[in-house]
Each structure stands twice: as C-alpha cells, then as structure tokens.
Symmetry: C2
Subunit: 207 residues, 2 copies
Amino acid sequence: MRIVIFLFDGVTALDAVGPYESLARIATSEVRFVSREAGPVRTGDGFLALNADAQFDDIGEADLLIVPGGNVRGIRAVLGDPATLDWLRVIDATTRWTASVCTGSLFLDAAGLLTGRRASTHWRARAMLANYSPERVTIDGKYWTSAGVSAGIDLGLLLCAEIAGREVAEAIELSMQYDPQPPFGTGDFTSAATAERVAIIERELRR
Amino acid sequence: MRIVIFLFDGVTALDAVGPYESLARIATSEVRFVSREAGPVRTGDGFLALNADAQFDDIGEADLLIVPGGNVRGIRAVLGDPATLDWLRVIDATTRWTASVCTGSLFLDAAGLLTGRRASTHWRARAMLANYSPERVTIDGKYWTSAGVSAGIDLGLLLCAEIAGREVAEAIELSMQYDPQPPFGTGDFTSAATAERVAIIERELRR
C-alpha cells in the first residue's frame, strides 16, 4: 500500500499530518512525503518545516495520493505551476484512491480531475468548486475529498477502513484516542455567528 | 507570546502539530520547534521528519512549553536522557504555562514537574502516572496536560482562549473547521470492546 502525500510551500501542516497519522498505523502501508524538490517544506506561517523525502522525479505511481491544502499564497503558487498539476495527473492515473484535505481539492480540480464530480473543500473556498459538497468527506468514484484542516482526520480514518477493514480502522481510532471534545462548538460554518467570527479571522488571526 | 514545542526522535507528529495548528494562528504568537540538536526529527514510523529549527542551546525560556509524546522507543530514550529532562526543567522555570500531549506528560513527570499534580496522558500509559486524570485535558496550576494524540487539538484550542480570549479561540476553531465526525465512535477507551481492539492494535498495527 503505497501512500504518497504531496507537500508544497505554504502547506497547512494538519491537512497533511491528520490523514498521515492514521494511515501510517496500517502495518502494510508505506508513506512518502513528496514535493517538487526534496527537502524541508515550510508551512504558511513559516514556523514549521515538514521534510519531503522524495521529489516529483522519484515518484511515478501510488495506490493512494493525498493532496493537502494551504494558505492563499501557497494555493496560488500551486495553481500557477503546470509541472505540479502535470505530476498530480500522472500520479492520479495510477491510483486506486485520490484524496484531498481542505483546499487541496482546488488543485485536483485545476488538474481536471474533479470535472463533473462533487467535492468538499474548506468552507471559505466553497465558491471555488463548481460542484461543492458541504459534506465533511465526499466520496465520488475514487475521489475522496474532505472539508477544511481538521476534516483530514476523519478522511484518514475512513480511508483506513477502506484499505484495511473496519475493525482495523476502529482500533486505529482508539489508538489515536479520537474522542474529540471541541471546546467551543464553533467549527460548523453554518452557524448564525459565522459572519462575526470571519471578521475576527480577517482582522486578528495570522494568515 | 513565545511558544516552544519540543521534538525528539520517535515523536508522534499529530501530538505536536495538533496544538501548533491552532496556536500559530494567534497573530502575536511565535512558535519554535526545538530538539536536542537542530535538524530533521523523525516520527516513530520513520515516514516523516519535522524540522527542529532550534536546539536546546538556542532556547532558554518560553511563555508556553508544549511537550508531545511518542512511541515506546522514543519515550524510553527521553526518559533516559538527563540533558533533556534538565532542559525541560530549565524552560519550565520560565513559563506561564507548561503543556503536554499524550505521553509527553511522562517526561514532565520524570523531570519532577508533576509531583502531587493530576495529569492526563494516553490511556494506554495511564498506569505510569501516579495521579492520572481521565479527563481529555487536565489543568492543575500552570500545567495543562492532555490525553492521547488527537486530544492535543482540544488542548491547543483551550490554550488559545487562555492566551488570546474566547472570541479569538472560537474564530480559530472555525478557521480549522473543527466540527469533528469520528467515523467509528471508538476513540473512548472505556468502551466494553476496548480489549478486542487492543488485541488488534498489538497484533496488526505498526508500532
């Protein structure tokens, strides 16, 4: 089970690490982090680098491709880079499953892979997908796309069940002690208070 | 707001990335990943390296120290390394908050920082803490300790509220779309089926 996770400058760390953390626990899985060039890849805030052990040239196929999202600058750079979109198409042509977290679905769409398919993305990017799905994880054919950031954990566990069976996935969920207690209950963007919170995001948070 | 996250060979990536992902969104925060020596630090499965931009010599103080857990080999190495336990004590003496995720609390305890205090840890390590608390996040004085792996996300958001106020923390929870849907509902170790799942963890999952 060859799992390939794409990295790029500006990536959101939890988008990549969320599904990795469950899928790497399957004994038969091999996970490789891949970027255009091998080496440290910085997150959007610059505080963390995840290492890409491999680069595009090294990886020509995968059983499962996972595409995380990132910050606005990182998204724009990927969307404007034909070499990255080409590589995503090449790998996708070999996969049993192609998955994305957060705005990673915008890259799959730009590569022409989501045409006519329903897909999830970060709620703030939903206008950018023609067939946006509000589901936390949307499955359309071999394309498994998830909503923003933390939704990659749910995606990863669902993929664990698909790959290794439900009992193994249940055990992985237990090993990650995934019994979440969101402290504020504000993660759902359909709340009436979302507009006020978006104002705080725009005004007060780091981009 | 100087946030320092400790890394070590064998670290569990989500333990470190979970709280980082929320705390880095506070505009005034600066996050530094620190290990005994600077450079790439491998997770327990070896598939991912998180970069430590700083080493112990570089960092003598912090407002918030975060200590993640790891696999058995990694835990043993840290517990047997007096230089690491010394450094944890030195930094802790300067913090407003000292926090841990998963088995990271074992390091704080070994450094003598949790004596007489209630603390959380990964449920499978609960016998290793004299004053184990089954809460997902336990606050005892300035020590904020969380349960296993994914509990670090809840810890991070609670710390965001403590540092930047509840409204900012609510906005961060929304920006991370943290409206979790655990696929199997098996993350709580008090379930009657836990013994069977532990057998699967022991027999079938990667360590």
